[in-house]
């Protein structure tokens, strides 16, 4: 595949120093691993918990669908998929 577009927001974008990256990987779990590998330990700590699972308060969308409703980290991606990683917000 040619690679999927990943949008980063909030603290993830600040650590990465960019808001849009293209990642050549599949499935979703590989994309996240690739992002963590290329953006350093702080990024990895923000994205994954101690067990290596994505932190629950990071919303992960694959073309507008929360990955929890797909095959989670096994979700197979298409070139046209757009992934978004957004820290959940809940204060008021």
């Amino acid at each position: 595949m040619a690679g999927v577009s990943v949008g980063l927001a909030g603290v993830l974008a600040r650590i990465a120093g960019e808001k849009r990256v293209t990642v050549e990987a599949d499935p979703l779990g590989e994309v996240l691993d690739s992002l963590a590998s290329s953006h350093g330990e702080e990024f990895r700590d923000r994205l994954f918990d101690d067990g290596g699972r994505p932190r629950r308060f990071i919303n992960i969308y694959v073309s507008g669908r929360d990955y929890r409703f797909l095959d989670k980290l096994e979700a197979v991606l298409q070139d046209w998929d757009v992934i978004a990683l957004l820290p959940a917000v809940s204060g008021g």
Binding site: D66, V89, G91, G92
Partner: protein
């Protein structure tokens, strides 16, 4: 003699709303829709303050405002409904008083309650639009489920530090909150008390929520129906994520995979400490109709100093213990060692 003679509006109202009546997107017919609208704002903290001020001033005819807290000095930096003279007052009472001063042409209905899975439907029933001013996910899930079930549009909004999210849920048409931010326990998330919040992000998100609510009232499609807007004040960026409906969503899906996950339903909880002091909150599902005069007498008899005697609640202090009781029975006890002490104080105060 009336200057304008416009059915349904006094001259004073026409003067008040004149800048909206000349606005293409509202006009006189839109002003009438606002006047006929019934809107519930749940939570009158940071977001809710800004939302209520705008909706009230714009002329929403019936505004129900729901909150369980009393005003604290630490609220005032961002919760612009309140002033220092209102510290200790139930927020909904202070808010209603401010609203009546802002706009005498509308009706405001203060509800001094917590939103719980047990009362969310009753709180929003009969409303045209519900606007989110909450500060935690569990009551949002309760509200989301009630709105989906009753078919009431719900404008979700949330803020923390310098960022905010907003989306509009139209039941049957768009994803619901649990399609795009479901299943998160509140203890996994930072709160404004710990992480802080910039008043400007609150105003931005609240204003978008108001704009969405007004579009719904006008009968226009909300701009964020089926989309999540994420705003970051740090670089003043707005990211828009187009959301897809989820057939398997347990709350709004056409083919749910499971029952909605259970929401914590306890009427008793320990919340974020204030200045290192433990804080316990009791939240009944129903309005208990506490006799505040009798409560005040009991408090004084027990040696408490009454710091605020309001119409919808009382605040008090005795040594290290501070607290408040609202007329609904919502009780906050602060500065005690543990839950059993808090329960004991509440039982003593309410004569349980």
């Amino acid at each position: 003699m009336a200057r304008f003679s416009i059915p349904g509006f006094s001259d004073a109202e026409i003067d008040y709303y004149s800048r909206q009546i000349v606005l293409d997107s509202i006009g006189l017919s839109g002003q009438r829709k606002l006047k006929d609208a019934r809107v519930c704002v749940v939570g009158v903290g940071g977001l809710g303050s800004s939302i209520v001020i705008q909706l009230a001033s714009m002329g929403v005819g019936y505004l129900r405002i729901v909150d369980r807290d009393v005003v604290e000095a630490s609220n005032l930096q961002r919760q612009h409904l309140y002033g220092v003279d209102m510290v200790g007052y139930p927020k909904v009472e202070a808010a209603a008083e401010r609203v009546r001063g802002l706009n005498p042409f509308i009706e405001v209905d203060p509800v001094p309650m917590s939103v719980t899975p047990g009362n969310a439907e009753a709180i929003v029933e009969g409303m045209d639009v519900v606007v989110d001013g909450l500060d935690a996910m569990t009551p949002r899930y309760a509200l989301n489920r009630a709105c989906v079930k009753l078919g009431i549009p719900y404008v979700f909004g949330a803020v923390i530090t310098n960022v905010g999210s907003v989306s509009t849920i139209v039941p049957g048409e768009t994803p619901c909150v649990e399609c795009f931010q479901g299943g998160i326990a509140d203890d996994e998330l930072p709160t404004c008390a710990v992480a802080g919040v910039h008043p400007s992000i609150i105003s931005i998100i609240a204003s978008i929520q108001v704009s969405e609510a007004v579009r719904l009232i006008m009968g226009r499609k909300p701009n964020l129906a089926g989309a999540l807007m994420y705003c970051d004040l740090e670089d003043l960026s707005f990211e828009r994520i187009e959301l897809a409906r989820v057939d398997s969503c347990p709350v709004c899906g056409s083919d749910p995979v499971s029952e909605p996950f259970p929401l914590k339903h306890g009427s008793f909880e320990e919340i974020c400490g204030r200045e290192g002091r433990r804080v316990f909150v009791f939240s009944p599902d129903e309005d208990l109709g506490v006799d505040l005069e009798a409560l005040n007498g009991r408090l004084e008899g027990l040696g408490y100093l009454l710091t605020v005697r309001a119409r919808l609640g009382t605040s008090f202090v005795r040594g290290a213990v501070k607290g408040s009781v609202l007329s609904s029975g919502v009780t906050v006890i602060e500065g005690v060692d543990g839950p059993e002490v808090a329960r004991g104080i509440r039982a003593e105060l309410l004569g349980l």
